[in-house]
Each structure stands twice: as structure tokens, then as C-alpha cells.
Symmetry: C2
Subunit: 458 residues, 2 copies
């Protein structure tokens, strides 16, 4: 029983689709987190759930860690092989298995990315709304309970996955949920696997809810004198129940990064909201008018419309590349991204105190936020050759996370735990973290599924 045995057996079955090539291992040892490269012992590229059953069965017999891999956009080291083992790369499992247009759902393999999916759906008049920015795989998004810019209107992966097919640690396949919109039959296993980060089972099929493409879409940008006014208008917009599709805070530092990153971008260096409205022609008009009134009440100016698809795409491309725009502020830097989410009434307080902490440090930390959900990110920019900077960033992050918890929020609104947030799990969940550990032990008694993440078994 060993990782070596597992590798020999996998090589025999998968041939060239099992690799121990150094550069392939290294690709699977680096994500978008601040962790150093941590490669697995081998990478396997299955094409079917049957093959995944084979892999898991072998790894179970050989007590070998198994780590699922989408496209490596994780920010907390979810898919890094801290305990060695075999990485399962889903790149050959991108099939759309069924589009059920009448039922507004689609059945997919987990390796397809959200942009690939929406490209394929384009002719149906339907789309999958969740948009974390990164062109992540749907499997990865389900496993981390991802969300992003549109969650304020459409919810997170939790609200948008109808059912899953999962290979368990013993190689059995189960199906959670049904194709019906609602289900009250027993424990909600679908929700249990969403956000379990590959530690309870390997997702092999996902049924996603789809939305009709809205009749009208319009986007706008608005500048504010200070962050507080921007956040306060968001609070009022949310409270009034306006079904806004996106409402993103971009602080002055991040605007500077965007201006640097995209030469066509020339916004004044102050806090902005980026907004998008979905609905009928009249509905969008009405939403935009009401929002406009609220914004001007809080001193917002330059309520500029991006009416053409091209302008709108430029806007969201910019927002979605905030990670790279932030990097443009300090070329060659590494980024530690925070992910606080608090009750919206506490959002101003959380952001302003964080800005104060950053000001009092030697680091830069531009801020963006899915503020309609109370969620914001600080991109702390670090010199990779200065370990002290990583320490300072971790201190700022620790203060921020303590603040989130004190304000009734969470240390991660959408990025997940991986290894990066493990230290906060007991603080956030108390005894409930033990319950998570108990569930892990029940579903994965040998601790082979992405070990060392989410739960502690000590």
C-alpha cells in the first residue's frame, strides 16, 4: 500500500494519460494563491466517470491522496498536493451531456469552464449566470461554492446546482438531488458536496440551473468622492430590493491599476461602482432610474452608460481582470487576496478599517467588492523575494478576518478554505468544525480525498 504502487497501477491503465513529467507536475503544483509550488506525485487525465471510479478505487486500496484539478484558478491552494498523491485533471471531461431547454437546466461534465459553457449555450437563449471572474471550471466552482459579480441577483453555486453525480472515497457512484426544481426527500447531499472542495467525493456530473438571456442588459459606471458614499448607496439599493444584476465597488487604487493595465481605460482615480441591469426594456429603464436617484443622493457623479455590448464587455473584462490590474501596480509582485463577507450594515466599517490597516503598513492593497453581498477583496501586493512582506500581508489578513467574524461575517465569502484559511475554521465555526470533521471521517475514512483541506482530523 503506497503512493508508488498507486502510480504503477495507474500508469498501467492510463498509459500516456498518466504523467510524472516534471513540468506537468509543476503546472499542477501552482494556482493563483501565494503558496510555493507544491506538485503532486503524478497527474492522471481521465475521460469518463468510469475511469474516475477506477482511479479512486486504486487510490483507496493504496491509501494514496487524490486531488481534483480544474484550471488552477484557486486562490487558497485548494488543489495543491501538500500531502503528495495523484492529481485528477478534468481537462478531458468537458462534455455537455444534455441541454434541457424546457426545464431550464443543463447536465455537464465538471471540466468545462463557464465561458465554454456559455459559448455552447449561446444559440439556446439561455445562459449560466454565475461569474467569478476567472474562467474557472464548473467542477471547481461547485467544489468551492463560488459566486462572483452576479451573485447579488442570481445567487451562488449553492442556489444554482440542481444535482450532482459524485464518486465516493470507496469508488461507489451516487447521485444527489433530482431534476425537479424542489426536493424535500432527506438530507441535502447536493449542498453538502457543494463547497466541500474535493474532500468528500469527486464530482463527475453536474446539473445546473439556467436562466433565460434577459431581453435588455445595460451597464453603467459611477464615480464617488469616497468609498463610504459608494457603499451607502449600495446598501440602499439592496434594501429597496432592486433586482440589480451586478454592483461592484472598485476603489481608487484599483482604478489606477485598471488604467495601467488597459490603455483604453481612463477613469478618474477615485472610488467607483460598476453596475449592470438585466430585465425587460422597461424594467431595466426603471431600475436604472431608481438607482440613478439613489446614487446622486450620495454624491455619485459621472453615471456613464455602457450601452453597446462592446463597451459593456470592456467594463467587465476590466473588472474581472482586477487580479492582473492589481499586479500592474507593482510589476512582478505576488498577490495575497482576502475574501471578507459581512452583513451589509457592517460593510462600510469593515472596508474603512481595512483601508486604515493597509495605510499603516508598507504594502499597497487595492480593493474590489461584490458589495451587494457584503463581500470585498483586498489584493495585497507583495515582493515574492521579501518574505517579510508576506508576513505583513498575513497580519493584515488576520486582522481583517478577525474583524469579519466580530461583525457577524465570514473569513471567506466565495474563495473557500483550501489550505489558506484552515487556521480560521475553528475560530469561525467553533464546535461545528468538529461536526464537519465527523462527516469527513464518515465519507472518507482513509482520508484520501484532498487531505489536509477544510477539516482537521486531529
Amino acid at each position: 500500500m503506497s503512493v508508488e504502487n498507486a502510480m504503477l497501477r495507474l500508469k498501467k491503465i492510463f498509459g500516456e494519460r498518466f504523467s510524472t513529467n516534471k513540468s506537468i507536475l509543476e503546472v499542477h503544483g501552482s494556482d493563483e494563491s501565494y503558496f510555493p509550488c507544491t506538485p503532486p506525485d503524478g497527474v492522471v487525465f481521465p475521460i469518463s466517470k468510469e475511469e474516475i471510479v477506477q482511479i479512486i478505487s486504486i487510490c483507496s486500496e493504496e491509501n494514496c491522496p487524490v486531488i481534483p484539478w480544474g484550471v488552477g484558478t484557486s486562490l487558497e491552494g485548494h488543489s495543491l498536493a501538500f500531502k503528495g498523491g495523484i492529481t485528477i485533471d478534468f481537462i478531458n471531461m468537458k462534455k455537455i451531456l444534455e441541454v434541457n431547454e424546457e426545464d431550464l437546466n443543463v447536465v455537464i461534465q465538471p471540466g468545462i469552464t463557464r465561458e465554454e459553457l456559455n459559448q455552447e449555450l449561446r444559440t439556446t437563449g439561455l445562459f449560466f449566470p454565475i461569474d467569478p471572474g476567472a474562467n474557472a471550471t464548473l467542477g471547481g466552482m461547485a467544489a468551492t461554492r463560488a459566486s462572483g459579480t452576479t451573485a447579488v441577483r442570481y445567487g451562488t453555486m449553492k442556489e444554482n446546482v440542481l444535482s450532482l453525480e459524485v464518486v465516493l472515497a470507496d469508488g461507489k457512484i451516487i447521485r444527489t438531488g433530482t431534476r425537479a426544481k424542489k426536493d424535500s426527500s432527506g438530507y441535502d447531499l447536493t449542498s453538502l458536496f457543494i463547497g466541500s472542495e474535493g474532500t468528500l467525493g469527486i464530482i463527475t456530473e453536474i446539473t445546473l440551473k439556467l436562466q433565460g438571456q434577459p431581453e435588455a442588459v445595460s451597464a453603467a459606471v459611477c464615480a464617488f468622492e469616497d468609498i463610504e458614499s459608494a457603499v451607502n448607496s449600495v446598501i440602499l439599493i439592496t434594501q429597496m430590493g432592486i433586482p440589480i444584476a451586478r454592483i461592484e465597488l472598485v476603489d481608487s487604487a484599483m482604478i489606477r491599476g485598471l488604467n495601467l493595465w488597459d490603455k483604453d481605460f481612463e477613469l478618474p482615480e477615485t472610488s467607483h461602482l460598476f453596475l449592470e441591469f438585466h430585465g425587460s426594456n422597461n424594467g431595466v429603464k426603471e431600475q436604472a432610474e431608481t438607482v440613478g436617484e439613489i446614487i446622486s443622493e450620495y454624491g455619485g457623479s459621472d453615471y456613464k452608460w455602457a450601452t453597446k455590448t462592446e463597451e459593456r464587455n470592456q467594463l467587465w473584462r476590466a473588472r474581472h481582470n482586477a487580479y492582473y490590474a492589481a499586479k500592474a501596480l507593482r510589476p512582478g509582485c505576488m498577490v495575497l487576496t482576502t475574501d471578507s463577507c459581512v452583513p451589509i450594515s457592517k460593510l462600510s466599517e469593515a472596508i474603512l478599517e481595512t483601508i486604515e490597516d493597509i495605510k499603516n503598513s508598507p504594502l499597497e492593497g487595492p480593493i474590489v467588492g461584490h458589495v451587494g453581498d457584503g463581500n470585498f477583496h483586498t489584493a495585497l501586493l507583495l515582493d515574492p523575494n521579501e518574505p517579510k512582506e508576506l508576513e505583513i500581508a498575513k497580519e493584515i489578513s488576520a486582522k481583517l478576518n478577525a474583524r469579519s467574524l466580530a461583525l457577524g461575517g465570514t473569513v471567506t465569502g466565495e474563495h473557500g478554505i483550501g489550505k489558506g484559511k484552515m487556521q480560521y475554521m475553528h475560530k469561525q465555526h467553533g464546535e461545528a468544525w468538529q461536526i464537519m470533521g465527523g462527516i469527513k471521517r464518515t465519507l472518507d475514512p482513509k482520508n484520501i480525498l484532498n487531505p489536509g483541506k477544510v477539516v482537521s482530523l486531529n
Copy 2:
């Protein structure tokens, strides 16, 4: 270690708030299901979570079953004491602990009913939208993952509970989730407890999401020549993404029942849709116009408006009392209610074949449905003194449930498993049911929490 010991110890602590009075036991032995009265050994009336910790600790030490009780509106025997033991009645735990208006949420004790809650919230401009018809407690609604007429717009309890406080089988208190709108920190325990029917822990506090009261509300009734046309218009309305707040099918037999039950009700005895729109003044007008067009395309007539609050209330009071209206068709009868939920593309097929089955039986079975979700109920009317009728009803129900599963749906869209649907759990979930059993064993190793429900430990 015995139920008797537990009772002695509880009596000592709770005095008059612990009862073995026969009539009190009988009240807690009957819900709205077809099961005969199955009383517990004792009923305790705690006033705080600390007292619930005491109760659970004693029952754990004494290996005594514990069954939570709201107001007894369950349709599947969820809270009946099939294995004896102690029922915890939440009638003295109705407090609203916090209303967080800015964050659109409320913290409550589980014994408050949804009508009581909305009564208290009236002055805030906020409301809790989930409406299962019965004036159930929020604790019961969370425990059964309830939904009802408004789920088509606002979702089910799964989407509307932000966090829970739960007393576990060993008397420990945990808190699941946070006050933030999103959370990616580990396994989704909130969703695990919602729908667990008291088998994994006792809910002692619930944080619910609230909605702003819509600017405009309007309701309408529309008659159709046949059920198929009504269902087809619902399918199109759903597919067009119209954010309708309620869309209910009421078949001709149920209309007859309503006309009998409420003398002010005089609708033609044919299939109807009852509709409600929420939104801005313009938004509601626009929705109603689009829906009107679709309905007339499918031959719907008599698109009558209930514009006044009083008319609207009459309409929904009638719909919500369908259970009693159905009973009016056969005075003194008992009701077996089915709860099929299928993908909406299969809804016509599911309903029409069920009607055929009922026609071929000696029973009457009026139908209502939350058709926007693919969910419908047949109220099979039985003579309580004719055991053969119950057998026939169970046969019709079994055929219906097999059909739901074959069509990719569930045997219960919103009523839950209790004891009534246990026989379908393996059929619906296969191996996944074993996983539920494993989770139960982990959280409740002595099987004291509502034993015999949801999972099988054999």
C-alpha cells in the same frame, strides 16, 4: 437507562411544564397525516435553548427518543412518536430575538408561526415570503425544507435560512452559517439541518432572510377548458423568466370543493390558475400583460383581477384551505395527500396520468399544484372506517411516486419524508441513502433524535 427515568428526571426539573396528561399526549400524537394517533410518553414545554440542552442531555443519558413539535401540520407523520419517547413542544419559544432591517434578516426562536412572524414584521416594510399554506412554525418549516405557493419566486426554506443554532444529540450547541449573505467556509451545515426533520439536531434559533414588501401586488384568477392548457401556459410563463410570485393550479374537482367550503366562492367548475404578481407598479403591470397574452394563447378565459387586498386575501385563503375544501367534498373523510415534483417539461404527463389513475379508482382526488415548480398535490379522500380505501389510496400514491421518479422527479417536493415516504427513500436515492444513514450515525450515534424517520440504520 430508560424512558421512565428520563420522564422522572424531566418532571423534577420542569414540573408542570412536563406533562403525561392523556389529552395532551393525544394532541401530540396526531398531525394532518393519515396515521392513527401515536402519542409520545411525555411532552415537555421548554422556554429556552438552555432548557433544550437539559432535555437532550437527559434523553441522551437515558437513551430516550426526543421528537420536536411545532403545531402539528405535518402530512407525513414527522412528529409522531412511533418509537415512544419525549415530545418537545416549542409553543413557549416564539420570540423574535432581533430584526436586522438594514441586513434584511430576522433572528427568531423556532416556535413562532409564519403568520405570527409576518404580523410582527408588518411595521418594518419587510416580510418573510415562504408560504406553505398551513400556519406552520418556522422551526417545522426549516426542519422539513418547506416551501409552498411563493417558492416559484422566492425559493424554499433552503434558500431563505441564513443560519441556525442547533442542539446536537450530545447536548452541545453549534451555530451554522453566519449573518453574511454568502459563505464558502467549509461544509454547508445549515443546508444539512434544513430538511433533516429533527433527526440530526434540535433547531433552537433561526436567522431568516427577509424581503421588502413589494410596492405593488396584484392577483388574478383564470379559467381553462382543460388542465393541459393551464399547465402549458405555466410552462411558457416559467420559461420566459417572468418573476411571477405565485402561480397555482386548481383542478375542477378542487374548485367544486372550494365553492362548497366558502359560500362566497362561485367559480365555474373547470381548471383554474390562481396568480399573483409582486413588483413595482409598472413591473406588475408589465408582468400581468405578458402573462395575460400567454394565457389567452392557451384558451384561458375569465382573467379576473382581485385588485383589493380583501379579494386577494379571500383568494389565497381559499387556496390555502384546499385541504379543508377537499374534505368538504366528502364530509368526515380522511385525506392522503401526495406531493410529486417533476421537471416542468414532464408536468402535464405526470398530472394527466394521475388523473387517469384516480378516474379508474373508486376514490375522489382533487388536485392543486405549485405548478411553476413542477409540484402538485392530489388530496385522496378516504372513509376512515374503510381500511380498503386507504389501501387503494396508497396504491395510487405508489404509482404516482414511481412515475415521479421515472420522470426525473422526487416523491416529495415540500412535505418531507417523516414516516409516510420512508419506503421510497432507497428507490429515490439508491446508495446515497446509505450516506444519509452514515451522517445520522455520526451526529446521533444513539439514535435518540426523532428515530425511525428519514434514514434507516439497518
